[in-house]
């Protein structure tokens, strides 16, 4: 049993960033490093209804929220994704985390027009975990490298420039040489302004099982009071974000499958200090991880 007094407290500053798990844990892929084990059959967190999303956006507006992120699961599985995007962009900047495979030519064209028409920034983050099929497909599934590259080409063809997000299961990808390989890959696919984001894997969910027992956090991989002595420290994104799913509100996108992490039914009831008592908090603190772009 955890004694919460032994863990650091992080105060809540302001709702700068609202994350929406629009398709819950439902995804067209079942990546081996997924920290919330998303997949075609995982509906632990189901899709959010349009009415819930509208209510959540209203609640966010009353808090002066700066920007919005959609993740999943795969957000483009949502049958009403266009309306959801338009509603959100009317309120503030939006970034969507996607594997892009479901973005066909018609959707890419609509996204490009939406990007042009919106006064606020509208960004896509496309996940790709290697510069070759061998690297990527061992994590994201057979044939996905070719599909993701084709989707990136569609987006670029319509004038969009997604941020390519790499989870560094292959640790060498985060080093200079690995970054350069990605830049060269993107330039070879006509991306003249390569944009990249590298994220450390979280050793929970399916990732904790990927390498057997070696994939889990050790008991020492946790935060202690002295790690975050100032509760107003601003180095963690959870001092200024919340995640909403169909099942309620969580501190951040990483913890929605962690027992005890759920904060409330309503967004406005979640805007209070939290305890950093999850192993994943260790990764954010030590690795300087932020899910934001």
């Amino acid at each position: 049993m955890q004694d919460l007094q032994d863990y650091p407290t992080l105060n809540f500053q302001h709702l700068d960033t609202l994350w929406l798990q629009v398709t819950g844990t439902l995804c067209n892929l079942a990546c081996l490093h997924c920290f919330i084990s998303c997949g075609p059959k995982n509906d632990n967190h189901p899709m959010m209804s349009l009415s819930l999303i509208k209510d959540t956006l209203k609640a966010a507006a009353t808090q002066g929220t700066r920007e919005y992120y959609f993740t999943g699961g795969e957000p483009f599985l949502h049958p009403e994704i266009k309306e959801i995007i338009s509603l959100t962009l009317a309120q503030g900047p939006l970034t969507i985390l996607t594997n892009a495979i479901l973005i066909d030519d018609e959707m890419a064209s609509w996204l490009a027009k939406t990007f042009e028409d919106s006064p606020y920034s509208f960004d896509l983050r496309v996940s790709l975990d290697g510069t070759t099929p061998e690297e990527n497909d061992t994590i994201r599934g057979r044939g996905t490298f070719v599909q993701i590259i084709a989707a990136i080409e569609r987006l670029v063809g319509h004038g969009l420039n997604p941020v390519i997000t790499v989870t560094t299961c292959h640790a060498e990808l985060a080093a200079d040489e690995g970054r350069q390989k990605f830049i060269e890959l993107l330039k070879a696919h006509n991306i003249t302004q390569p944009r990249l984001k590298f994220l450390m894997p979280f050793k929970i969910g399916r990732e904790s099982r990927r390498k057997g027992g070696e994939g889990c956090y050790t008991p020492a991989e946790r935060l202690y009071l002295e790690d975050v002595p100032d509760p107003n420290s601003d180095h963690l994104q959870c001092d200024s974000c919340r995640m909403v799913t169909a099942h309620g509100v969580w501190p951040c996108p990483i913890l929605i499958e962690e027992e005890g992490a759920r904060m409330s039914d309503a967004l406005e009831d979640s805007l209070h200090p939290i305890k950093l008592n999850y192993s994943a908090c260790y990764t954010c603190h030590v690795g300087g991880v932020s899910c934001k772009t």
Partner: protein, 269 residues
């Protein structure tokens, strides 16, 4: 809080980035437009040549109010980096080159001056409360880009910090936003140290005055200066050719990864 007394026409600028030529041009241009008060929102160093040349233009002028930006805090406190808030190694690589150059070439007495500068200014203007900050009122190195600052967020900021007009810099790209809910304004003055990634060689500042009805009026000024002379000085100092190219073309070549998608799409790199 630093309350200041101001005139009827106020030049507000930031991001000097060692560009003493544009700073001298600004003082002349703003005076010519009738500005009797000038407010510098900070970041005196970085990017350009010969840091010590900007300080005589900023000091010992009763009409010039200068605040501390993140760069000034770092240089003044002899820190190891600029704390600009970049997250990508490509951005940090070039930021560190200009920071190391600036730190090595700023005299100690100017560093002490930077260390002790105020961090915000407030004043009343045409019946409105005006707040000047560097990045944002809540965080010195917060980037308020036009495309990633929602109206509802900016309204919240103005409520929190009890002002009707907010002036900031830090991003290097100017913009003005009217917030209709309470008839308020947020203005990013851009920078006078380098062009705004729009293919134009001029730099930017803002002029605050009143309109014919006595209401506050903010005018964006495109400031022309001898950018070729600046490029020559930068090469003489051995600064990276990437920086020189920006001065000569108006397009950013470095520190691009921090840009939101819309601002990035407007540039060529």
């Amino acid at each position: 809080m630093s309350y200041i007394s101001v005139g009827e026409r106020i030049a507000i600028f930031g991001g000097v980035y060692n560009n003493h030529l544009s700073l001298a041009a600004l003082k002349q241009d703003a005076s010519g437009r009738g500005a009797t008060t000038m407010i510098c929102l900070g970041d005196m160093g970085g990017f350009g040549p010969s840091p010590d040349k900007v300080f005589p233009l900023l000091q010992n002028d009763p009409n010039m109010f200068v605040m501390q930006g993140n760069y000034d805090h770092s240089i003044g406190n002899r820190l190891e980096d600029c704390a600009c808030g970049y997250t990508d190694p490509r951005d940090n690589h070039f930021a560190q080159i200009s920071y190391d150059y600036t730190a090595a070439n700023t005299s100690d007495h100017f560093k002490d001056w930077l260390r002790d500068l105020p961090t915000e200014f407030r004043f009343e203007f045409a019946g409105k409360k005006v707040l000047c900050a560097h990045g944002s009122p809540r965080k010195v190195n917060e980037f308020l880009w036009e495309s990633n600052s929602s109206d509802i967020f900016l309204d919240w900021v103005l409520d929190q910090f009890e002002c009707d007009l907010l002036f900031v810099t830090h991003t290097g790209i100017p913009w003005l936003r009217h917030l209709p809910s309470k008839d308020r304004w947020v203005v990013n003055v851009g920078a006078i140290g380098r062009p705004a990634n729009n293919g134009e060689k001029h730099v930017d500042y803002m002029l605050l005055s009143t309109d014919s009805q006595g209401k506050p009026h903010v005018e964006h000024i495109a400031l022309h200066y001898d950018y070729e002379a600046l490029a020559h000085e930068m090469r003489e100092e051995g600064l990276p050719e990437e920086f020189v190219e920006t001065v000569l073309t108006g397009w950013w070549t470095t520190c691009l990864e921090i840009l939101p998608a819309k601002e990035r799409a407007k540039g060529v790199y």
